[in-house]
C-alpha cells in the first residue's frame, strides 16, 4: 500500500483494523506516526462532538409528545364531547322540570339555610331600612324596622323561584325569613330538619317562610312578623 492510499484510508476511518493497514504502519515509521496523530485528532473530534444535551431533555420530549397527543385525541373526540354535552343538557332540563314538580319549597328553604350560614353580607355595606324596603318593594311588601336588626338581605333561588332571604337578629334568636312570590307552591305550616324548624304563611300571593334554630321561639317571632311585614300600599 503506498503512502497516499494509507493516508486516505486512515483519514476516512482511523479505527479501521484492516491487516493491510497494520502492515503498512509497521513497515514505515512515518505511517505509524501519522496514524497515531490522526487517532489523537479523532479523540478531540469525538470529545468536541459531544455537545452538552439540554437539561432533562428526555422528560421534555416525553411530556411534549403526551401533551400533543392528548390535545389531538381531545380534538378527535370533540364530536363525542358535544354529544355528551347535549345529553347532559337535556338531562338538566328534564331534571329541572322534574324538580319543579317535586321539590318542596320548605325543603329548598332548609337546604338554603346551610348555604346561608356561610353567606356573609358582601362588603359590610350598611343595611338601612331604606335598602330593606327597596328590596321588599319588588315583592310588594314593606317591613317595620322595629322587628329587629337585619343582618342580611339577599335574593336567592328557592327551587328556581327568585326569592328574598332576610336574616333578622331578634330577642327570640336569629331568624330567617323567605319571601317566595308564587303561591302555587304551598309549603306546609310546620316543617323541620335536625337543625332547623320552620313555619309558613301566605301574604296574599306571596309565601312567607320563617325558619329558626330548634331552640328559637318561632311562634312569638312569627306573630310579630305578621304585624310588621305588610303589603305595601
Amino acid at each position: 500500500m503506498d503512502e497516499l492510499e494509507f493516508r486516505r484510508r486512515i483519514y476516512a476511518n482511523p479505527a479501521d483494523d484492516d491487516d493491510a493497514l497494520y502492515t503498512a504502519a509497521q513497515s514505515d515509521a512515518d505511517n505509524e506516526a501519522f496514524w497515531k496523530d490522526i487517532k489523537s485528532l479523532d479523540d478531540k473530534l469525538r470529545n468536541a462532538a459531544n455537545v452538552p444535551v439540554p437539561d432533562d431533555l428526555a422528560n421534555k420530549l416525553i411530556l411534549n409528545t403526551s401533551l400533543v397527543e392528548f390535545n389531538q385525541h381531545k380534538r378527535r373526540n370533540r364530536w363525542y364531547i358535544g354529544l355528551a354535552a347535549s345529553v347532559a343538557f337535556t338531562c338538566g332540563i328534564a331534571l329541572t322540570a322534574w324538580q319543579q314538580q317535586h321539590t318542596e319549597l320548605d325543603q329548598a328553604a332548609l337546604t338554603h339555610m346551610y348555604y346561608a350560614e356561610h353567606e356573609q353580607p358582601v362588603g359590610n355595606a350598611r343595611i338601612t331600612p331604606q335598602l330593606v324596603n327597596a328590596k321588599l318593594a319588588q315583592f310588594g311588601a314593606e317591613l317595620d324596622p322595629s322587628i329587629g336588626k337585619i343582618a342580611s338581605i339577599n335574593y336567592c333561588l328557592l327551587d328556581t323561584i327568585r326569592s328574598l332571604h332576610m336574616i333578622i337578629e331578634t330577642p327570640q334568636g336569629r331568624m330567617s325569613v323567605f319571601l317566595v312570590p308564587d303561591n302555587s307552591q304551598v309549603a306546609p305550616n310546620e316543617f323541620s330538619d335536625p337543625v332547623y324548624k320552620g313555619t309558613s304563611y301566605a301574604l296574599q300571593k306571596t309565601n312567607v317562610l320563617v325558619i329558626g334554630e330548634k331552640s328559637a321561639d318561632l311562634p312569638a317571632f312569627t306573630s310579630q312578623l305578621q304585624q310588621r311585614l305588610k303589603l305595601s300600599t
Partner: protein, 170 residues
Amino acid sequence: MMKEKTLRYEALVRALHSDIYRYAYWLTNDKSTAEDIVQETFLRAWRALDSLQDEKAAKSWLITILRRENARRFERKQFDLVDVEDVSVSGSDDQDSHAEVRQVRKAMSKLAPDYREPLMLQIIFGFSGDEIAQQLELNKNTVMTRLFRARSQLKEVLSPPALQRGFQSG
C-alpha cells in the same frame, strides 16, 4: 396495549435522545433549532412506533426521520428572509468548554454539511462506511472520500501554526 407502547417509547427516548440531539445540533449548528427538530422527530416516532419492528434499527430509523425534519425546515426557510447559515455559529454559546474544545467545535461547524454529516454519523453513532452509505443513500466510495476530506480539512485547520510553518519550511 397502549401502556406497552408508552413503555417502549420512553425506553427509546431515554436510550437515544442524547445522540439524536447531538446529531441534530451538528446538522443545524443551533441549539434551539436542534431541540425543535428533535422534538418533532420523537413526536413522529411516537406516531409511527408500530412500524418499528427491529429495535436495532431504531437509531437509523430516528436519523431518517430527523433528516427529513431538517429538510422540511429548509423548505420552510426558503419563504423566510433569514438565512439559516447566519442564524448562529457553533461555539458562540459554548462558554463553559475548554478553549481547545471550542476551537474544534468551531472548525467542525465550518465544514461543508456534505462532509460534516457522514463524519458525525461515524463519530457519534459509530456507523461503518456501509451503514453511512445506506443512511445517506450514497455509494460507499463517495462516503469514504467525504470522510477523508472532512478529517484532512479539520487536521489542516487545527494543526498548531508553528508546526505548519515547520512543515512548510522543511
